[in-house]
Symmetry: C2
Subunit: 351 residues, 2 copies
């Protein structure tokens, strides 16, 4: 609890002075002003985050939060619950989507078990199990308040370790059968939008499955009465350990002044929750892709982000965030390796 | 002329059988069907292009066509004409935008001088100069029909050399003060849309400059009377050597069955021209980013492409295409390094 309080209240604003200096350099690089568009904005934001003109983001870590959800029992998922563990194992073996991309781009992949169901020890997966899957939220809270805080602190600690290990940028990812259900529930409560409006087909539900999912979320909210002004209450009652863990990643990254990349729908909902806990966390975040999950656009809108990529992806795992990491690294390189007109000895001319 | 004819008429359709086989594999990889969205479509298209299940795109070349435009004299550009050569030199020195990204991602950068004005030999830039800048198109054709064909063939040959050197994917780029003017002129004629509708601010024109640019394009079209059914006629009369060179890149890549990535506005107009010469070229192309230049969206629409990236970029040089190259490489890796449910010994279950 101490760590959570310290970190969530200890986030500072972006460094405005450094951002001004960064913008001045960007505007003087040998290209028309503004012609590298959002790459320029990224570079300026990076300076605001790190307090440096040249931000070091070449060492990159993707943290994946893996957990099971008790609400699975309500028949809300297109895949069997064992798939959570199977995919976590595939990640370690390097054959899951995101691990293929991590290898391609030299991104350190840290898969954390915050609550996969079952006793099996998954080799290579970091065991930080808080429970063996959450409780079924239509029958009571998914977890206790203490467990939610513990999940958040697990995310914070994972960032601290990554940063100590030299990482200059963090991306978020998750795997957990049933976690679009919990994400839609959290979003519905936090934004006060009906479950029907924010619930989609997840990994591939049919019409009947979708109706069942909506009813399940409605019931879970009705039974648990989460207090939308109390984010931890919402996360514990109708959320998941993976979502809470990612909230911790965002808070920890902001606290450590390290850029952090949002992935898809589930990751965006966690970002929204983190911003509610401390609005200053927003400045440390970067969007990545436009999720194909139904309420993906709505969360991005509420967060005030416009994704860089439109790939019609809805895999999760951090698969969109890891692509955006490359774009952010390119922005940092632009800042460092391009030269200003002054530096190459030519007067800026334009008309 | 022989090479141009052989290549533009020798492009074959995509391999439909291989695409079917590729789709079957993609659908069986350990992820929900369709969840990697457009990455999946890219992988399937790659198989149609190369005729292989696993396309080798790890060796990558960006070909930049550099040339000057006589229409510069009409005051249509925001930067002085010398900037073409300066930026070409910056590319070789590794400090231009696109060369920074090429170094980051291990992309071979080939800068070709198809017609920079002046006698200066630019060290490291491949000298394939066809003329010392085109003629001023408001006073007559920018170049002769023969010169346009020679520029196209220069692009074709550059691709042939890159492929012989082992490259499995090509991206297009350009630098040339005045080339949004020529691109808008070519687009206006090919698509039969008024110059006003397709002319933007390029590298940063003000309102007066923009009006002058529109009038210039109108005048050039009026004087030259290009035949919109004859693409080479259009390119030679109101186009540029860089555009023609890129047309050759598209045709050459399609002929050699190698994927080729479109960059921004100028590069898109060249892609459109290549598709007019042979509609089969379309299957070998990939979009990249949404250009911030005025008619960028219109060309993409006419080409039937939806860009992957929205970065508000308008630099050219291949700076958007080189980012998309990473995405295409990721799709190829997905195909090769992810496993099917069968391969990991698990029955696909869903529903």
């Amino acid at each position: 609890m101490e760590l959570f309080k310290e970190v969530s209240s200890g986030i500072r604003p972006l460094d405005q002075e450094k951002m001004k200096a960064a913008r001045a350099r960007v505007d003087n690089l040998t290209k028309p002003v503004g012609s590298l568009g959002r790459l320029e904005d990224i570079a300026v934001q990076l300076s605001g985050i790190t307090g440096e003109m040249f931000s070091q983001v070449d060492r990159k870590t993707l943290i994946v939060m893996a957990a099971d959800n008790g609400v699975y029992d309500e028949g809300v998922a297109a895949y069997p619950q064992e798939v959570t563990g199977i995919i976590a194992r595939c990640m370690i073996q390097g054959i899951a989507g995101v691990s293929v991309f991590a290898r391609l781009w030299g991104v350190n992949l840290n898969v954390i078990d915050v609550g996969i169901k079952g006793e099996e020890e998954l080799k290579g997966v970091e065991n930080r199990k808080i429970m063996h899957g959450t409780g079924n939220m239509v029958k009571g809270p998914a977890m206790s308040r203490e467990q939610a805080v513990k999940a958040i602190e697990t995310g914070i600690q994972a960032v601290f370790e990554a940063v100590e290990g030299g990482s200059g940028i963090i991306a978020t990812g998750e795997v957990g059968i049933g976690n679009t259900t919990t994400s839609s529930a959290v979003l519905s409560v936090l934004e006060n939008v009906s479950p029907r409006e924010v619930t989609g087909r997840g990994a591939g539900l049919d019409d009947m499955g979708l109706e069942q999912k909506i009813r399940t979320i409605e019931k879970a909210i009705e039974i648990n009465e989460p207090d939308r002004e109390d984010v931890v209450d919402v996360l514990s009652k109708v959320g998941g350990l993976d979502i809470a863990g990612m909230v911790g990643i965002y808070l920890g990254a902001a606290y450590k002044r390290v850029p952090v990349v949002i992935d898809g729908f589930i990751s965006s909902v966690a970002a929204l929750a983190a911003c509610r806990l401390n609005p200053l966390a927003h400045g440390y975040m970067f969007p990545s892709h436009r999720s194909a999950e139904k309420a993906g656009d709505l969360v991005m809108e509420r967060l005030g982000f416009k994704p860089y990529l439109d790939m019609q992806m809805r895999l999760g795992e951090g698969s969109g965030a890891i692509i955006a990491m490359q774009i952010i690294e390119a922005a940092a390189r632009m800042m460092q390796d391009m030269k200003t007109f002054d530096e190459i000895g030519i007067a800026r001319q334009s008309g």
